[in-house]
């Protein structure tokens, strides 16, 4: 299945957006957690130092802590901040008032100068982070006493803070995502609007409401719409040509048919009837062939690639060499490999096939084809010149105009000369070119074709 452009763009950008915002969220979340954690640990460390500073040894070497402690919460029962001091044997020396009624299983007794953080869960709903720090106390110069200070703080408010931050963070990110998606959808709609317009125009053309794509399209689409318009125009011309051909054919068939009918209905002997039928039949055949070939011509289409002329001429010459093998026609080519015809290869074959066939038919021995590109000059466009000439009898200047008329022939004994020329002229006109009859330096007829090269 093919997804629509809109869906593709939306899907892709939504996924990128989700990934981006998700990663941002995770990074921010863990960074915040880490810094909150560090702050908590620093605070615990601070309590320990404060307790240490407040501690005092009496004359007997007993540790005392004042009633007024550095943080009032030590003295409030169940305040969430707890402390105790144990001596080297693990016996508690001092407990904060806040510990009353609580039994916190401090277990850590680190070495002197070391600190250890431990998470403790006393009861459900009472998670604690505790820090144990051991100091060595020199009393009276000799006896070395060790005390371990243990401080613990309730994590409930810490956790609440973290989860509040988390809610805020994800809330904002989700809001931003929705906003971005909305903006993106709008941008997409706006950007793809010209495509929808093309589709709408095409619908209108299909429905017969319009002839071509109208309106101003963005630069990226203009190549496409211009080509579409060109194709539409050439298809239109093609259709018109078919229609014309059909009409012409139907009209021009009426005359020979009328003659035939008259001959059949009239009193006429078999031989005369046969002669008339034969004449009219060959006329009908020519009419059909002429109109068919005319209708089959493609004409200039906007997407036509340049066709190299030389291979086309060579294949026609190879074919005609067989047809005129008995006559031994010498065909010389003066065509550069770089000479190209901008148009349909089939049309070129029809034109050159007709001209070369005529030339071979009428020549004594020699036929010559030359083609070259004429560079653009001040007043004229670049053009392709093709000349087909022979050493035959040629056509007298006063007959040339008549020969070009459809179906006319200079010599009735070789059928199709005029027909071929009229055909070629029709094709040449489709390419806005010109056809000229001239006298060849070989002595016979020279047919010159001239095609302007589209810029």
């Amino acid at each position: 299945m093919t997804l629509s452009l809109n869906t593709r763009l939306l899907l892709a950008s939504s996924m990128v957006l989700a990934a981006f915002l998700g990663i941002t969220g995770l990074v921010l979340d863990s960074a915040f957690r880490a810094s909150a954690d560090t702050a908590l640990r620093d605070r615990l460390q601070g309590y320990v130092y404060a307790l240490l500073a407040a501690s005092d040894l009496d004359a007997r070497g007993k540790l005392h802590l004042p009633a007024e402690l550095p943080d009032a919460r030590f003295s409030l029962i169940g305040s969430g901040l707890y402390a105790e001091v144990v001596d080297g044997s693990g016996k508690p020396v001092w407990r904060s008032k806040s510990l009353l009624g609580l039994n916190i299983p401090f277990t850590k007794t680190p070495a002197v100068g070391e600190r250890e953080f431990v998470k403790i869960e006393v009861e459900r709903d009472l998670p604690l982070l505790s820090l144990a720090f051991t100091v060595g106390w020199e009393a009276n110069g000799n006896s070395d006493r060790r005390y371990t200070y243990r401080v613990a703080e309730n994590l409930v408010s810490f956790n609440a803070e973290v989860s509040r931050f988390r809610q805020n963070l994800w809330g904002w990110l989700a809001g931003a995502a929705i906003l971005l998606l909305l903006v993106q959808g709008a941008v997409l709609r706006w950007s793809l609007a010209p495509l929808r317009r093309v589709a709408g125009d095409l619908h209108a053309i299909e429905a017969g409401l319009a002839q071509r794509l109208r309106g101003d399209y963005p630069r990226e689409l203009r190549q496409l719409t211009d080509n579409l318009n060109g194709l539409l125009t050439s298809a239109d011309n093609h259709l018109k040509r078919y229609r014309d051909s059909l009409g012409n054919l139907a009209h021009s068939l009426k005359t020979p048919l009328a003659v035939l009918r008259g001959a059949v209905d009239g009193e006429m002997n078999d031989a005369a009837l046969r002669t008339i039928a034969r004449e009219q039949l060959s006329g009908i055949t020519q009419l059909i062939e002429y109109q068919l070939q005319r209708a089959a011509a493609s004409g200039r289409t906007p997407l036509a690639a340049p066709v190299p002329v030389k291979p086309v001429v060579e294949s026609i010459v190879a074919a005609l060499a067989k047809v005129y093998a008995d006559k031994g026609v010498e065909i010389t080519l003066h065509i550069d490999a770089a000479v190209t015809f901008t148009g349909d290869a089939g049309d070129l074959t029809e034109m050159l096939g007709n001209l070369l066939d005529n030339a071979c038919k009428w020549c004594r021995r020699r036929v010559q084809v030359s083609a070259h590109m004429r560079p653009p000059a001040v007043a004229t466009q670049a053009a392709l010149d093709i000349t087909v000439e022979d050493d035959g009898p040629g056509i007298p200047a006063d007959l040339r105009a008549r020969v070009m008329q459809r179906g006319a022939r200079a010599d009735e004994s070789t059928p199709g000369h005029g027909l071929g020329l009229a055909m070629v002229q029709d094709h040449v006109a489709l390419y806005h070119g010109q056809l000229q009859l001239d006298t060849s330096s070989l002595g016979g007829l020279a047919v010159r074709l001239y095609f302007p090269v589209p810029p």
């Binding site: 067989k322 089939g346 050159l352």
Partner: protein, 227 residues
Amino acid sequence: MRILVVEDEASLRAQLEAQLRKAGYAVDAAADGEDGFYLGRENPFDLAVVDLGLPKLSGIDVIRRWRAAGRSFPVLILTARGLWQDKVEGLNAGADDYLTKPFQAEELHARINALLRRAAGVAKPVLQCGPISLDMTAHTVQVDNLPLELTGYEYKVLEYLMLNRGKVISKTELTEHVYDQDFDRDSNVIEVFIGRLRRKLDPENRTQPIETLRGRGYRFTLECGEG
């Protein structure tokens, strides 16, 4: 001379067959490209008339395959569209001449004659060998400028021998080129034709135009020029 007609349109095919038979050729016909290709590959035809638009295998492909299989008989293509593109493609695929539909019977005969003559290396339609002159357009024979009455088969045998003059032609080869596929072949008939031809062409046994090579076949011995 034996001709293969490959044409899918039944009425035109029947018409072509009838016209060509009447003109004195042995004719086989095929209605589609595959049959046509097979017939042409398996039988020694002297010429083929091939329509370009054929079912199963296009006329152009049929010609290409014949040529690829080494069949070199001349081919005349029939085209309905009359487009040069079709003609050029057909001729370059290996055909030798074209005819655009509809065509007149005389035009068809003229083209076939020209192709057969060209294939035999004879440019003019009349072949003059000693006192015998063979007119391949009119299908008539004269000896010492006097017209000679020959049956269709006698003419065909003589024409084939004269076009292949100097070469030894076996009875089988003669039979294959004189009769179409459906004919019940009997090589004794050829001996009878040769005997009759000898009596008619050379009643006094002067020139002895047809030589018998025992076990190998016949040879036309006279020197020929194009008259």
